[in-house]
Amino acid sequence: MPDRPIPGAAADLEPSSRPGVPMERAPQPMAGARMPIRPQHSDVRVFKHKGRAGFPPVFGTAQPPRGLSGLLRKVAYGYPDHWARHWMILLLADRVDVWEHRLARAAPWAVPTAGVLALTGVAWRKWARA
């Protein structure tokens, strides 16, 4: 192996030159930070897991819960996140969510198609009896 395998090898040899040393530093607000943080307002339903004391001032509002998967997520967030059932119910809700979307996407053609097939079947049976 060459003495200098890459340009600048050992440039950060001194641990104090590394940004993450020590990992936990003396507390001080970060540059640009503003206090107090105003709470975000939203009409969208957002879950908080049960192990958390309060709601954070900022949160995401993408893809609000809905349908059966939303109900399952509500149940899951009723448990703290150190309980396995919290995560297992969420994984189940994810799979249910996929099927709900597939059914919703298929409904515009699947419902009329099923109707036509049912009517055809009834007509066929009547014709066969006659």
Partner: protein, 382 residues
């Protein structure tokens, strides 16, 4: 706007969805100029991260131009070019004040395991990500770093995640000069961990993977020795033998929950979901590193549990260090390394796609086809 959306395991597509809007006075809206697919996005794609909802937009590595500002934003102006850390950090909470921005307690109501993260499921706060034309960026005066004039977006893009993550991986190895370092995983984070290990004065660096083209890339890009674990009988014994039967001083896990190498772990974790993925590399790290050595974990693992040899770690007296990267505190330092030519961040990009072709890019990246190391996406307007 056009955005990548999750449709269920192994399926994403690009479709129209409403533009993001300012939801808090400290938000900005960014017009995305470059965004990358991260290895950890594949965990989402494969349905391994709980509370990943259909319609969710992935993407936590992106650069952009400030388009709209919240009323309390003072450090940015419309038109500023910025790169954004993947962590959403307030800068004022107990953890942010101590530099642990990945543990911010003011951005994620859903879980205590992580702070808010862009495009990484509702487990990390339910924020849509940057694989879109526009993205909402909270705490905009704290996280984003302005890209200096004359610097391309692609040179700065990886300051938002994989470069600081790789650097922190090496840093947590507590290299003091001359140590032997084994990096498991020759993907983007692993490559940056290797370069960073050299920057910190490592004496010998070895990359381990099973994808030969990535090992070849690591030899060229990071000037390391390589081992393909499929070509040796027992990777742990092989690595121990390389270092007088004791093993290396430091092992870095830059793979995480979807590791190859153990059928049993893959069946349990990825097939049956009886553990959170396959901790094969973590097990190898613990078994390989010398007694009293350091194991640094930057590969992503999820809740609730994994089968790993904690008894071996205890009896060998190992130091295990791990964290999601506290990205913001590394950005300025690593920007300097890029500008002074010590790290060629852009050099790992092997593929560029338009945002519209993102599903194709995901497929290529996930299947490790065409020599793919890193994919960058460009929205139509950029």
């Amino acid at each position: 706007m056009r955005a990548l959306t999750y449709q269920g395991p192994f399926k994403v597509r690009v479709e129209n969805k409403p533009d993001p809007r300012l939801e808090h006075p400290q938000d900005v809206i960014l017009k995305v100029t470059r965004t990358a697919i991260c290895g950890s996005d594949l965990h989402l794609l494969h349905g391994l991260v709980p509370d990943t909802r259909v319609g969710h937009t992935f993407g936590h590595e992106f650069t952009g131009v400030v388009e709209e500002l919240g009323s309390e934003v003072t450090q940015l102006r419309k038109g500023d070019r910025v790169v954004v850390p993947f962590n959403i950090s307030c800068g004022t909470c107990f953890y942010c004040q101590r530099g642990l921005t990945a543990s911010c307690e003011n951005s994620n109501p859903s879980s205590d395991v992580a702070c808010g993260v862009y495009g990484y499921s509702h487990t990390t706060g339910g924020y849509d990500g940057g694989q879109a034309e526009y993205v909402r960026v909270p705490f905009a005066d704290v996280g984003p770093l302005k890209i200096p004039d004359g610097m391309e977006d692609e040179e700065a893009l990886f300051l938002g995640d994989i470069l600081p993550t790789g650097y922190m991986g090496a840093e947590m190895g507590e290299i003091k000069g001359g140590e032997t370092v084994v990096v498991f995983g020759a993907g983007p984070v692993g490559l940056f961990a290797m370069r960073s290990a050299w920057l910190m004065g490592a004496g010998r660096v070895i990359a381990v993977d099973c994808v030969q083209y990535r090992l070849d890339f690591a030899e060229r890009y990071a000037k390391v020795e390589t081992v393909n674990f499929r070509e040796v009988d027992d990777i742990v014994l092989y690595l121990k033998d390389l270092f007088d039967g004791r093993g290396p001083d430091v092992c870095i896990d830059a793979v995480g929950m979807e590791a190859e190498g153990s059928v049993g772990q893959r069946v349990l974790g990825l097939g049956l979901k009886l553990e959170a993925g396959a901790p094969t590399v973590l097990t190898w790290c613990i078994d390989t590193v010398r007694k009293g050595g350091n194991v640094s974990i930057v590969g992503v693992y999820g809740p609730p549990w994994n089968l790993m040899p904690i008894g071996t770690a205890m009896n060998k007296g190992l130091t295990l260090r791990m964290n999601q990267c506290n990205v913001r505190r590394y950005m300025t330092h690593l920007l300097q390394h890029i500008r002074e030519g010590r790290i060629d961040a852009k050099g790992i990009i092997t593929h560029r796609f338009s945002l519209e072709d993102a599903p194709k890019a995901y497929h290529l990246f996930a299947q490790k086809q065409d020599g793919c190391v890193k994919c960058v996406l460009t929205p139509g307007h950029a």
